[in-house]
């Protein structure tokens, strides 16, 4: 019905800034696609280009089977939800939601029916006569959603819709939007800088940085198989540990070596990384793949790393540890049963099967 195809999209601003660089991707019909990246990565620009709020410099945007490059925003059959809600302050909730339908000159009874339906879906029936200023942030965001829903667009565009809400409400609205998507079955493109939102909501994630797409994949694939160091570092919290070191042969085994760390590769890794022997390489390990050697030894003693426990951050259900192994900093995520104290020496082991290796030059993933 309404898949979105973006082909070689480019956006230059008047001052010469190249905000979007040759971006291509496809959001399938009914797919919930999340564009994620640090601020200034061009994700919002891509969204505004899809909406038609900004002119594209080159490339093609297809909505369904229609090339919309030169189509006015109102004729693209889209609805957009903005970060600051963008409700019309002088109109009631009802009028806000009915505005687009009134402009389309639909008859009053139809408008009423559509608005009532959307209001019921979002649980805001009781506020139809209020003005936006009389609503809380969460209620305003619902009204903004309602305004999008009543138009029954082919495509929903979300521009960081939850970032103005407090943390608790954000979690709640997150699941509501997912439910809404399941109910409405529209294609949705959702922009956020919050990797947790991306992971929890998306069918597929597009990771962007500096106007370039770094990876497009399902959340778990992105988490488990990051395409490069940026994606590895951006997705996941606490962030992946990235250590600069070398691959050296020790005792007929290929090892990753830094000043404080020396650790043998698995057989498959050895096979793939043969060519990096005696060369610089970046080793990546997620905090949850580091274990306290006393309880969960993944390896024999020689494979263990001695580290100084620098800071302990208790979260209740888990502990985050800042460790120092030689000159290298490591973050580890431990279960609450393991209680090292700050200042203690600690033997840790890592699950090498989960380790990642990156080329320090190209930053691309090697394993």
């Amino acid at each position: 019905m309404a898949k979105i195809t973006i082909k070689n999209l480019n956006k230059f601003y008047d001052n010469g800034f190249h905000a979007v660089k040759d971006v291509s991707f496809e959001a399938l019909d009914k797919e919930f696609m999340v564009l994620v990246g640090p601020s200034g990565c061009g994700k919002t620009t891509v969204l505004r280009l899809i909406a038609g709020l900004e002119e594209i410099s080159s490339g093609e945007i297809w909505i369904g089977d229609k090339l919309v490059n030169n189509v006015h925003p109102k004729d693209r059959n889209i609805a957009m939800v903005f970060q600051n809600y963008a409700l019309y302050p002088h109109m009631t909730v009802y009028d806000n939601m009915a505005f687009a339908l009134k402009l389309r000159k639909e008859d009053k009874a139809t408008i009423q029916k559509k608005v009532a339906h959307a209001a019921e879906l979002l649980g805001i029936e009781s506020m139809m006569k209020r003005r936006p200023a009389q609503l809380s942030g969460g209620q305003r965001q619902r009204v903004a959603l309602g305004r999008a829903i009543v138009r029954n667009p082919q495509v929903f565009l979300f521009d960081e819709p939850l970032s103005n809400l407090d943390a608790k409400l954000r979690v709640q609205m997150r699941s509501e939007i997912v439910k809404l998507h399941r109910h409405l079955e529209n294609t949705m493109i959702y922009v956020t800088h919050d990797q947790v939102e991306a992971m929890t909501m998306a069918d597929r994630i597009v990771v962007m940085k500096d106007g370039v797409i770094h990876q497009i994949d399902t959340p778990l694939d992105i988490y488990n198989n990051p395409a490069n160091m940026f994606v590895a570092g951006f997705i996941g919290s606490p962030a992946i540990n990235l250590l600069d070191g070398r691959l050296e042969a020790r005792d007929s085994q290929l090892c990753f070596v830094t000043e404080g760390v020396s650790i043998a590769l698995t057989k498959t890794q050895e096979e793939t990384l043969k060519s990096y022997k005696d060369k610089a390489i970046v080793f990546g390990i997620r905090p949850e793949d580091i274990y306290d050697a006393r309880f969960d030894s993944m390896a024999d003693a020689p494979q263990q790393i001695m580290a100084l426990c620098d800071i302990v951050e208790p979260l209740g259900n888990e502990y985050h540890l800042q460790l120092k192994a030689g000159k290298d900093d490591l973050t580890a995520r431990f279960d609450p049963k393991e209680l090292p104290r700050a200042g203690e020496q600690l033997a840790i082991s890592v699950d090498m099967a989960k380790a990642h290796f990156f080329d320090p030059e190209t930053q691309l993933s090697l394993v």
């Binding site: 008047d14 505004r48 609805a79 957009m80 600051n84 963008a86 019309y88």
Partner: protein, 328 residues
């Protein structure tokens, strides 16, 4: 305590300055209510009063004029009801004479006299017409221009806007002559157009509106555009309703300045039937130069409408002047 003293000092200073500001105004109003003879006494009074003498006789009180007073007897004229002299030079005992001071004694008829002395009705009508016609013009042009400057992208936008602003720095007398020549070419001298059309654009209002429009979130415009509103629709349905306070303020400013405009109408028009209030007032000044009380009465009713307007819009003006320049 310290805070109280500080506030006390501030309020005292403000009160003193406020007093300085208001004294001439009070003086104008009080003079407008005096008789000319009372004004001529040059006493510093703010509440007009009337002083006269009466002669208490057995048959009642008679209004008199005192000619000469001595310790035990005085010479007086006795006045009739219309204050005309009835009996001249009568000698009466001084103790029967009493000085009466009536306070306040307000001569509202000064206003009627002043209003009828020259055709103020026509001046008022002209001023109202010119002020409101140019107000409508200013609102339309400012709204459109400010929208373009605030929300549209076009080549040379900044430059044009700067040129607009720099025009604000040119003192009016500098372009008075060239304007006169231009209006002459149009054959507009001595017409209402001359008074209205050149004042249908006001750079300060454009600036004020632009600042306000820029303070409206950009997403509001985006949302309206996606909702299907045209550019004009956005202006009409979104921007206009959100601009009511700034429109009120700008209207007051525009009305005040066109109500008070003097030099322009004086130079550009000649016919008496085109005279606006300020020009009429200056003619009145020449004609009634000796009648200070009438002058003050005319001045008072000339500024009254603008004063009322200012009081009505006071809150808006203070709020928006406090905001101008802070945004953006």
């Amino acid at each position: 305590m310290k805070e109280k003293i500080r506030l006390g000092i501030i309020y005292a200073l403000l009160a003193i300055f406020g007093l300085f500001m208001i004294v001439p105004f009070v003086w104008m109003v009080s003079t407008s209510l005096m008789t000319q003879s009372e004004f001529n006494k040059q006493e510093a009074v703010f509440i007009p009063k009337e002083e006269y003498h009466v002669w208490n006789t057995d048959g009642g009180q008679r209004r008199i004029l005192v000619v000469q007073t001595e310790a035990d007897s005085s010479v007086i004229h006795v006045l009739n009801k219309d204050l005309k002299i009835e009996q001249e030079y009568i000698k009466v005992p001084t103790k029967q004479i009493e000085k009466i001071v009536k306070k306040p004694s307000l001569h509202w008829d000064n206003y009627k006299k002043a209003f009828n002395k020259v055709p103020f009705a026509i001046y008022f009508k002209n001023t109202l017409f010119v002020s409101f016609a140019s107000l409508i013009g200013v609102m339309i042009t400012s709204f459109l221009a400010a929208y373009a400057f605030a929300r549209m992208e076009f080549k040379g936008k900044q430059l044009i806007f700067l040129m607009f602003l720099s025009m604000m720095m040119v003192p009016a007398p500098i372009y008075l002559i060239s304007s006169y020549m231009l209006l002459d070419k149009f054959n507009w001298l001595d017409t209402y157009q001359a008074l209205i059309v050149p004042w249908c654009v006001n750079i300060f209002t454009i600036f004020m509106f632009r600042q306000h429009f820029r303070s409206l979130p950009k997403e509001l415009f985006d949302a309206a555009m996606i909702d299907g509103a045209s550019t004009f629709g956005i202006l009409w349905r979104i921007v206009l309703p959100l601009s009511k306070p700034i429109i009120a303020t700008a209207s007051v400013f525009t009305l005040i300045s066109s109500w008070n405009s003097f030099m322009w109408p004086l130079v550009m028009t000649n016919r008496p039937e085109l005279r606006v209030l300020q020009v009429g007032l200056s003619y009145f000044n020449q004609e009634a130069s000796t009648q200070t009380t009438l002058l003050m009465a005319a001045s008072t009713f000339s500024i009254l409408p603008i004063l009322i307007l200012f009081f009505l819009a006071q809150k808006q003006i203070i709020a928006s002047t406090a905001k101008t320049g802070m945004k953006d």
